[in-house]
Amino acid sequence: MDGRTFFRAFRDRGGKSGVSELVRLTDVTKVYQGGITGALNGVSVSVEKGEFTAIMGPSGSGKSTLLNMVAGLDRPTSGGVAVGGTDLGKLGEAGLARFRRDHIGFVFQFFYLLPNLTALENVLIPAQLKGNAATGRARALLERLGIKDVEDKYPARMSGGQQQRVAIARALINNPTLLLADEPTGALDTHTGEQVMELLGQVHRDGQTILLVTHDAKLATRHAARVISVMDGKIVDDARLESPERAPSDVIRVRGEEVSR
């Protein structure tokens, strides 16, 4: 992370919640149009800088919705979202776009690479939208993620794992304050999924704050130091694990995942 991004992220930090608070959701409720119950119901949570947090929960519980709020992709029906001290509710559409460009990296389950751009071009997009040429850095990222050889390939010619790594590189190109990943292994086979998670773990060790949505408890617990469990739009559990690599069964119990079983 370069100094400027660091400074911006922490410039407006409030004193009370400690030196390293990065994300703060205050009583966030989201009701979709036509939805009877809220997708999120009064969620309050904060995420600290440098954390690797996993969000778990059954299908339809509101995990993606939560992530979208943090990314500024959607606005809460009520409540507040602040990232790096910036109140997202105060930003307009263009402001949100700029915010995402500067502070957020997003990785999707289905990669969402632009099909008519090569791997390198895909990775460069966020930098170019800012008006930066970052070809050197993009190449370095591809190298670091082990996909140097697909640089000039189009997504249709890549495997799922390669596509997802390109997507991760694209998410990292602007040195985001926060990396959001919504089921990044959901469309991958187990082995490839593990490799991708390993990469995310590595990125985290290099200092990246990560917020990860996953179904897979084993993968979550292997890398994340904190696991937030969501059900019916509410946080039902928030566990900090002293050390990663805990037995998944312990965690599952703590988080009440068995309720859904």
Partner: protein, 776 residues
Amino acid sequence: MKAVLLKAIRDLRRRRLQAAVVFVTTLLAVGTGTIALTLIAQTSDPYQTAFEAQKGAHLVVDFDGRVDPGTLAGTPALIGASAFAGPYRATDMQFQSGGHKYTVTAIARDNPGGDVGQLRITGGRWPSSGTEIALTRSFVDLNHVVIGDKLKVLSVPQAPVLTVVGLVVDIDELRADVGGQQHAWVIESAFAPLTTKNSTFYQMDYRFASDPTSPQMQTYLDKLRASLPPDSITSSISYIFARTVFHISTQILIGVLVAFSVFALAATAAIVANLVTGIVISAYREIGIMKAVGFTPAQVIGVFVLQILVPTAAACVIGIPAAMVLSQPLLASNSQALGLAYQATYSPGLGLLALAGALVIVTVAAVIPAFRAGRLRPAIVIANASAPRGQSGRWIRTLASLARLPRPVVLGLGDAAARPVRAILTVLAVVLGVATVIVALGETRTFNEIYSYEGHVGKVDVVVAKTPAFADADATQLIDLQPETTRVVAQANTNITAHGIADPINTLTFRGDSGALGYLLTSGRWFSGPGEVVANGGFVHDAHLNLGDTFTGTVNGAALKLRIVGVVYDFTAGPGGHIMMLDWSTVAPAVPDLSPSSYMVTLKPGSNVGAYVKRLAAAQPDLLDVQAASTGNTAFLSVIAAVLLGIAGLIALIAVAGIFNTLLLTTRERVRDTATLKTLGMSPRQVIGMVAASAGFLALLGGLVAVPAGVELYRLLFDQLSALGGNVTPPVFYDVYATWELIAIPVAGVVVAIAAAMIPARWAARTNVVEVLHSE
């Protein structure tokens, strides 16, 4: 079948905007096409009907007054005419009405009926006393004379006054608005007072059992000429020439309409093909599902084609009857010129033809891309939401990146080229639109230029017409006395006959600095002395002459040795007509009483033309007709210009619809990519920039092709037009566009395209990322 229909209608409802595009473009194309068809099918009817009903003369010949009328009575048998009328006594008569002076051919005739050349009285009655006159309807319409008006005859010293009592249609003369000298009729006993010594000539009407061809007419004239003393025939009009002249404005209109409706249909076909391709591409998964549930390939194609045919049929149902109604005034003007009560006619067969044509073209345009959907294998298409895209956008992105364009623009350019067929079809529509605008602009501009050239605009300020009763010397002295006068060119009209040309050639004889009149030469130079002649292309061609050739002309029984030194660009002689221009010194020795009929006067710069005209007219109110050199009657030109520009506007609109359509398809198809870009931080403005760049790029590409194509097409069309008057287009008429216009037109196209792009662009900018990605 029911399933196909149901699916097609449901799809149609979902694709309302696309259906609207098809509807609008088809409406415009089918409308112009139907108008063209209606005009082609029905214009010739009224003239032909009138010609038969009035027993029109195939040939009208004027004979010199010295020919013995008894001899003339024998001429019909000589040339095998089945019926004839005349010889009628006739004379050129000048009169004044409402402050203007006109010249007509007054004919002595007691009875409007007869075996040949019957006259139809469309208003009032036939003259019954010596102070009454009948005029042609064509003349009256053009010059706003009405029944009851008193005409003061100026061509005889007694200046009798005649009352207009009847309006008549004479099928055998040229219509007034295209420039023929009109006939007028008085009873036999009233004729003598309208003549001066030697001013009487004879007119004969001949009719043949069947319609003669042009060469046959030529032979008849040659026979007549051979049987009579030299110079007995002073002029002649064939029914073919009269008919052509009668139809000329409609002919030009039809030519333009046909060309443009072909353009409009081509653009529509391009848009439809593009649309179906787009729907097939974006509905890939749906096609797979349709096939999986049992649609046969033919039924899949049927679903797509039906979606297009429904709005097409709707457009036809509205457009064809509307066009038929709209073409009525154009048809009516022809009938009215003939004094026929216009019966609005609607031909259902023609409507069906237009309907079938439109449906066939649209179906073909839709079926070809729909085939692709029919052939797809379900397993492949279900796995892909939409067709895989090509990579052809890459080189453009690379180039654009090298040009350091902002990334959204680069992405937009890549999008534009990502589907080459779509890009080509869109560019094609743009090319057609921009090219027609260029052609229409060029043609209207040259029409006006030709008109002002023929009217000597900027070269002559005042035209003074003189009655034969007023002496040339007096007129010249009067004009020279005016202090503003700087230049006077006198003009006399003479008829000169030349070997190999049947009719006497209308010859303009100039006295003074005629070179300053600014006649446009397509080759050679203006004459500079006795014996030198400038003629129109039609004459040079028909007399088999080349520049520099000499030939013998006969005037007043005297042979003149003449040499062609230049070819003049001319429309006044009409299709197949002949005209010559030469200097006074060439003709004067052979015609002792040669006297100008008009004087073209140029004033000192800054002179008050109005005051000059008033003063001169007041000096000789009866014997001179003084007019400011005007741009004259351009109604005919402005109708054509309005139609041309109107249709060009419509086709340009179709092109805009094409771009709009493509952007709609692209943005719909790209909705997920756009959502992804937005998560990556693309701002709404950048999204709009991206879509606008796509539009601008396609329009620019189209413009770059269309400008040279349009200019070339304009030249081709203009050559055709020139050829109509027997001319070769002089290069000056090729350069009617300023460089900035040729730049501004495609730039305007780009601006319009970007404006049209704003709807899909803003739609894309507003898409809710969460919803788009959620529905995946």
